[in-house]
Amino acid sequence: MKPFPRLRPTAWDGLVVLCVAALALGIAFFQWRGGTQEGLTAVVSVDGREVDRFPLEELIAAPRAYEHNGYTLEVCAALRGEVSSLDHVKSDGEMGLRVARSDCPTQDCVHTGTITRSGQSIVCLPARVIIRLEGGAADPGNVDAVTG
């Protein structure tokens, strides 16, 4: 049997080592961070069924509309504290979303105002629509739920 030739590492081998090292460190770094640098995601459900899921930033480009049970909700990006273009409510700069317009009878979804944090939601019972924020930076100081 012919013996294997004696292999000598070359500069290319070193490059492969560096690439593997960079890749491994990158994966480890991403997993350690647990994806906490992701932005907020809006999840829209109608009658308990998820119908839309998108990064909050996408609302800046264009508002979205949801129609169910004969009612239409228009959802847009907003800053916390902002109520409408006619109101001069101070904003603290936290970005979120709100229901800008709805033809539902209760208008509770519009009156909920702007939600900005993971776990918060806007509910329209007449249209049976729930819009909820998920993800975002993990903050142990955030509340998990609100009673009331």
């Binding site: 491994a24 009658d47 729930i130 100081g141 739920a145 009331g148």
Partner: protein, 353 residues
């Protein structure tokens, strides 16, 4: 030399990338949203069986709604209200325990919680489907004569109401449902979960990071801002239920009328409180917290605190009262939770014992 380096470094790096985020079976998570009982519900379960547990929760809630809804004409409650009497079928089995609990809470609260307030609530338009209006005094007095929970009879499997009576379980059904969820969490070995059923929160176990669940108490002065809180409850294995005058109301002739009706007067309770939050351990029963939060709102601060002090057999529940004059009163002897006041809320905070 280089080969030795490769032999050492590469396995170490592979180990590093592969083991950086170990998957804990307790971290598996399922989150569902349910619209039922005239409110939106969000249930998040953890654990290996979290999807099955979450959907079992939805089944239980849907099943309860079928029996207890006042707006579904086929529900047991609607059939009972329409006929004045009902022989319970196999699918109506939840009605007996919930009626029994409601009667116990009526007696304990000296009538401040009473499910036979239904005709009065409907007259104000708070039962759903009707226009809001202010009933006249004569109409209220006539309706109040029908309000008496002790007249509801349960014999074997037959429920009978008093003359002209109707029941509304809206003040107890969501809490009762939250209590049923604890059975599912036990059955499916759910290590931690968070269930929001309208104003009812069930914090089961602790957070994935091992700290207590953080449940905010809504600031009644800013009901349209979900970030506006009077404080945060840090809870493990607990129910927290809030009743507030800001939750449903209408305005007429410059006056505000809210939905928590005082069974003694037939009018929105004018008790000096804007919200009552009742907190209890998950073994105490969500129905109790739900019923007490309504009853103690009707009672007002002084009577509510007397009621809290009179608990038998050790402290069962705790209170967070928000008053019209800008105070937050925390009454807790259990030591089972921590209340963190919200900085800059503008309220003054008191602790009573």
């Amino acid at each position: 030399m280089m080969r030795r380096l490769l032999l050492c470094v590469l396995p170490a790096l592979l180990l590093l990338s592969g083991c950086a985020a170990p998957v804990d079976p307790d971290e598996a998570r399922e989150s569902i949203q349910v619209i039922a009982m005239d409110t939106a519900m969000l249930i998040t379960t953890y654990g290996e069986r979290s999807p099955a547990a979450a959907y079992a929760c939805e089944d239980v809630i849907r099943d309860l709604e079928k029996q207890l809804s006042r707006t579904d004409p086929d529900s047991a409650v609607s059939r009972l209200n329409a006929a004045g009497t009902l022989e319970l079928g196999e699918l109506d089995e939840e009605l007996i325990p919930i009626l029994s609990a409601a009667e116990a809470y009526r007696r304990e609260t000296d009538g401040a919680f009473d499910i036979t307030i239904a005709p009065v609530v409907a007259a104000w338009g708070f039962a759903g489907g009707e226009e809001y209006r202010v009933p006249g005094e004569a109409e209220l007095q006539e309706l109040l004569e029908r309000v008496d929970g002790s007249a509801v009879r349960v014999e074997d499997r037959t429920v009978t109401l008093g003359p002209g009576q109707a029941i509304d379980l809206g003040g107890i059904a969501k809490g009762y449902a939250a209590g049923k969820l604890t059975q599912i969490f036990n059955e499916y070995e759910v290590p931690r979960a968070l269930a929001e059923l309208g104003g009812n929160v069930l914090a089961w176990g602790d957070r994935p990071d091992g700290t207590p669940w953080r449940v905010g108490v809504q600031d009644p002065a800013h009901p349209d801002d979900r970030n506006a809180l009077v404080g945060v409850l840090e809870l493990v294995d607990s129910f927290a239920v809030t009743s507030g005058s800001y939750q449903r109301y209408f305005q007429q002739d410059g006056k505000t009328y809210h939905h928590i009706i005082d069974p003694a007067t037939g009018r929105p309770a004018d008790s000096g409180l804007t919200s009552v939050t009742v907190v209890a351990g998950s073994g105490a029963g969500g129905a109790m917290c739900d019923a007490y939060s309504t009853a103690l709102f009707v009672m007002g601060e002084e009577k509510a605190l007397d009621f809290w002090r009179s608990q038998q057999g050790g402290a069962l529940f705790s209170l967070v009262l928000v008053t019209e004059d800008g105070r937050v009163v925390v009454a807790d002897k259990t030591g089972q939770f921590n209340f963190v006041p919200e900085e800059g809320s503008g309220y003054t905070y008191e602790t009573v014992s």
